[in-house]
Point group: C2
Chain length 310, copies 2
């Protein structure tokens, strides 16, 4: 029986998991990380977990897969930039290889999640899949012809910074009107806060008055479920603009399936309904009708499973 | 020696060519077509050309590749819609197979051009290429991992109808602000005509006064070469918006090369310079710096060569 080992490395914690040949997690672990974490310390911590696991002879994985939020040089295992971890040009692959004694594959975390979803939730005959991660920001991963598409520098799938309107709201990246400024959790919250600050009445008002920072994508979704107009408007707009962006991508990539994952996707129909409505307005329907759009299952596990199986 | 036979089927004429194993055209032919052409007549005309060619024993191609502008069902050889030819659900593949006696592969014309460029102008180690056709409209073809990417319904690469600004100018497709409304030849001409109709002085004014229909992308480019402000502004805007659209696609696809082809691309630096400037403004430069952007060679031949080699 073959095992795989994956690491899903985030800004506050790293999930580690042993995955069996049926692509199920059989053991999982957690390590604290931080924006000031030293890569050497992290490599030591991961190795300590990995080496403690008892394997029968021949069962120890010969490779560890790692997903990291940021710009990754997949070929050399270098984290070019990871804002969450405060890293720049960190040779994490070589460091981990040294500390664990096995070979290391590092990839972007959205790519790892895409691969995890493709490996566990997609029928075998489906070869072209787009995975959209709707978290604080917006990311993506592409499966094309059954393979994770990494592109020339491993940067492919960076859908959150497609410019949807050059005159739109300022994005963290410096540009204006990126898809992320319409559908990323941080921007949904900012939009709600900015409207609430103007005194508009909403189910969210008491929460906002208590502390503006208590507004989260989840609290907006809860209010929208209860038909609150402001919260509903925020989700309709986000879903609509996500539909425009995904419509563009459907025309370009013509995938068979699209999965939404990440915190904001848990609002389900609140985001899916306006998204689907927006897609129905496209005149050229052949590729639109061909794509099945759904919310990914097990959003908390697909990243580390994908990393392990990469 | 192996030969290939291709057909590049347009709204006014079809180019046919015999292509040798070095991917060079050794014989070419032309057939008149029209928006009211009967598919049966066309199949007969193509077969007449194909059957007249004298091949040594064993050299007759066993397959014909056809590129058609429109929405193509590649698997069944059906032209779902071709506005140029006025066709809807035409089983061109089966018709041609019957008339010629060989098997037929039909694909979108932009895909055929992309394959032709990939086969003749791209170094062997390059595997991810985006080809952008800037004609009256805007189209595209994707090479991913060394293969023409067709997607679920053969519709992939339809980049001209990516929405760049929902409040933009009305597109022929019914939506607003498609990439085509910024960089398609028809829209460049419309923009020039609309400004000239307001009496703005330009090198193009005499031509416009003679007949507004004499304004073409070529005449605008010629005026821009001579530093005419209106013409230059039109190309800067087109190049800039093309840069925004291609910037989005570079983030998504991370290709090694992008080729521009089609009439409007012949304006070369007029479109390339503002395009490159727009890309330089992107904050995340890793995939931008990795891509080589150039104008395709032999724009009149790549379509039929690509069709032959498909």
């Amino acid at each position: 029986m073959k095992y795989y080992f994956g690491v899903d490395l985030g800004g506050t914690s790293a999930k580690l998991a042993l995955v069996n040949h049926s692509k199920k997690i059989v053991k999982d672990f957690s390590i604290k990380t931080s924006a000031s974490a030293s890569p050497e310390k992290l490599a030591k911590d991961v190795a300590a977990v990995f080496k403690k696991i008892k394997f029968s002879p021949g069962q120890r994985p010969q490779k560890i897969g790692v997903g990291v939020a940021g710009d990754i040089d997949v070929q050399n295992g270098v984290v070019r930039v990871s804002p969450n971890l405060g890293w720049k040009n960190v040779p994490l692959g070589p460091l981990l290889a040294k500390s664990t004694g096995v070979s290391i594959h590092i990839d972007n975390d959205a790519n790892a999640a895409a691969w995890g979803i493709y490996q566990t939730q997609v029928p075998a005959h489906i070869k072209n899949v787009l995975v959209v991660t709707l978290g604080t920001g917006v990311g993506g991963g592409l499966i094309i012809n059954g393979k994770l598409h990494q592109g020339a520098t491993g940067s492919a799938g960076e859908i959150g910074h497609m410019v949807m309107d050059e005159e739109g709201r300022r994005c963290n990246c410096g540009l204006k009107g990126c898809l992320e400024t319409y559908a990323g959790g941080t921007h949904l919250v900012k939009l709600a806060q900015s409207v609430l600050s103007q005194g508009l009445k909403s189910r969210l008002s008491p929460l906002y008055k208590k502390d503006p920072n208590l507004i989260t994508p989840k609290s907006i979704a809860d209010a929208a479920q209860k038909k609150d107009s402001l919260a509903s408007a925020i989700f309709s707009h986000a879903g609509h603009m996500l539909g425009v962006g995904l419509g563009n991508l459907i025309y370009v990539l013509n995938p068979e399936m699209i999965f939404l994952t990440g915190g904001v996707s848990q609002s389900k129909d609140l985001i899916l309904n306006p998204l689907r409505k927006s897609l129905k307005e496209r005149p050229f329907q052949t590729p639109i009708r061909a794509v099945k759009i759904q919310i990914a299952k097990n959003p908390a596990q697909v990243g580390v499973i994908g990393a392990a199986l990469l």
